[in-house]
């Protein structure tokens, strides 16, 4: 059985903005488990509760109810915090420091031995391709450069659990590819990566498993292929020896080729159509499920939640 690196159980959070503003229930019994060594995507539209969940895991937001553990340690214990590398949605850094100064400061807070700090900072700067710009004040950095330093401080302590909130937002294609490479490289080193995104191709490319979150609770969880497979909406049916226009079962679209014909039928009418084809002497060539994309799945879950 796989070892659980991050466990979130029945997490609830309501924000109370002020006296004259109504409360906002952001998390509603959110639960999930992330296995050790996997890349886990946390997918959902804006306002779904992704960032609040991540802030609860990193101790920035205090949940009203629920439990969070990291490698079986309470998430707010010092032991658990020593296992985490965290990068927030936007790179919130001290702009009066240089990139190198900031990483040194982070290394000290991460309790890295003094003798090791220089080597660790240099290797991290190289890893995020910032060595030649590390002595510039960060107020002169572009967003992509800040993002790289922010990722650097997350990697600096050799974390066992890397938590990244929208790590690729605001990056150019090269930056996105670099971040993807770093995530995959961390997985190869046995690091668990938990990252949120609303950019679906990012998630599809790198994640072993994903959770879709809508309105503060998890709607689906599993491998990307598995999740999509659960969502078969229609079938493509290919057959011969029958004029497709004569089919009486309602179908979505009809095509006739030189040898065979194919039609698309809703999932609930599949059996009716197969029976009709058999009764009328047609020869069934293939029956192919038409799977929705992750994006379509998410949109449908979103619409269901809204209704």
């Amino acid at each position: 059985m796989s070892e659980v690196q991050l466990r979130i159980h029945d997490l609830w959070k309501t924000f109370h903005p002020g006296l004259f503003e109504s409360s906002v229930e952001v998390l509603r019994g959110l639960s999930l488990e992330v296995d050790k060594g996997e890349i886990f995507g946390f997918l959902g539209p804006n306002g779904a509760g992704k960032t609040t969940t991540i802030k609860a895991v990193t101790g920035l937001v205090i949940p009203d109810r629920g439990e969070i553990s990291i490698a079986d340690q309470p998430h707010d214990s010092m032991q658990a915090k020593r296992l985490i590398g965290f990068m927030a949605e936007s790179p919130y850094l001290y702009t009066y420091l240089t990139g190198r100064e900031y990483l040194r400061f982070s290394a000290e807070l991460l309790e890295i031995e003094s003798a090791e700090i220089d080597d660790r900072v240099e290797s991290t700067l190289a890893r995020v391709s910032m060595t030649d710009r590390a002595d510039r004040k960060m107020r002169t950095f572009s967003k992509g450069m800040l993002q790289r330093i922010a990722l650097g401080q997350a990697l600096l302590g050799d974390p066992q659990l890397l938590i990244l909130d929208e790590p690729m937002s605001g990056l150019d294609p090269v930056g996105r590819r670099d971040v993807r490479d770093i995530i995959l490289e961390q997985k190869d080193r046995g690091v668990t990566v938990f990252f949120s995104s609303h950019i679906i191709p990012d998630v599809e490319t790198v994640c072993d498993r994903v959770a879709t979150v809508i309105a503060g609770s998890v709607r689906g969880i599993g491998a990307v292929r598995e999740l999509i497979a659960r969502e078969v909406e229609s079938y493509e049916v290919t057959f011969t020896d029958l004029d497709p226009k004569s089919v009486t079962t309602p179908v979505a679209s009809v095509h006739r080729g030189s040898d065979a014909a194919w039609v698309r039928v809703d999932a609930e009418r599949r059996d009716t159509l197969i029976r009709e084809l058999a009764d009328r002497g047609a020869r069934l060539v293939s029956l192919t499920p038409v799977q929705s994309s992750l994006e379509e799945l998410l949109l449908r879950q979103y619409e269901e939640a809204a209704s």
Partner: protein, 255 residues
């Protein structure tokens, strides 16, 4: 202690890279340098005027540094969300606040030492001789600032930066009017007004307890007990206010 020290050093470094600090320091030195002009107006009392103005200037500009820097450096950390990366590391929330507090104390201490040395120099330069008791007066201003910074840290975690500055400034002003508040409670007609003023009197520290300027300027004796009492009083208020700030910050959501 390690995390507190690292955050304190970084806070100090941040303050040193802020131009506001040098502006206040420049004004303070200018005031001390120009005190000779005021001294000329009072025949035979020049050194007293220089000391009086110098000590008042140190207190005023240190107060401005304490209020501005405290609220800027603590609130900015929360508002600009740089605190996210600190608290996701093995750092407790109270360690963060105490680190910021220690860094601010360091900022004020360095400025205090610098201003005191300059004042002692000007007093000597203008013929007042070397007066070591000036160090006692400025030292007690330092204790006063330690209490005031604790309040600024508390307000920084309770409210917005502007309000935090206003409240800290109000504590400074009310704290210096503490004796008047006490007298007011005896003369106010209504019981509600008396209760309100009494509450204010007990909530806000009496900053006049740290005021030894008159004794130093006029060469009056200073009982050791008064100094000891002021130190204990300052430590008590600082500790109490910092504990309140830490307790509040422990349960605050960082959005």
């Amino acid at each position: 202690m390690r995390a507190i020290r690292i955050i304190a050093v970084n806070t100090f470094r941040e303050a040193l890279r802020d131009r506001v600090l040098y502006l206040f320091l420049g004004f303070a030195i200018l005031l001390m340098a120009s005190s000779k002009i005021f001294g000329i107006l009072t025949v035979g009392e020049q050194d007293k005027i220089i000391k009086d103005l110098g000590l008042a200037g140190i207190q005023f500009f240190l107060m401005l540094i304490a209020v501005m820097m405290s609220v800027i450096l603590v609130s900015r950390e929360i508002d600009s969300k740089t605190v996210y990366y600190l608290l996701a590391k093995p750092v407790r929330r109270w360690q963060f606040l105490l680190g910021k507090y220690a860094g601010l104390i360091l900022v004020v201490l360095v400025n205090l030492v610098l201003m005191t040395v300059i004042l002692v120099f000007f007093v000597w330069l203008y013929g007042g001789g070397f007066d070591p008791r000036l160090f006692l007066a400025t030292g007690m201003i330092g204790v006063e600032m330690a209490v005031l910074i604790a309040f600024a840290v508390l307000f920084s975690v309770l409210t917005k930066p502007i309000l935090g500055s206003v409240f800290t400034l109000a504590v400074f002003v009310v704290g210096h009017l503490s004796q008047d508040l006490w007298l007011l409670t005896r003369h106010l007609p209504g019981s509600l007004g008396r209760t309100l003023v009494s509450v204010l009197y007990y909530l806000v520290p009496n900053f006049e307890r740290f005021n030894f300027k008159t004794e130093v300027v006029h060469q009056l004796p200073i009982p050791a007990a008064a100094i000891g009492l002021a130190l204990v009083y300052g430590c008590f208020f600082t500790g109490l206010v910092l504990v309140l700030a830490c307790v509040r910050f422990e349960r605050r959501d960082l959005q």
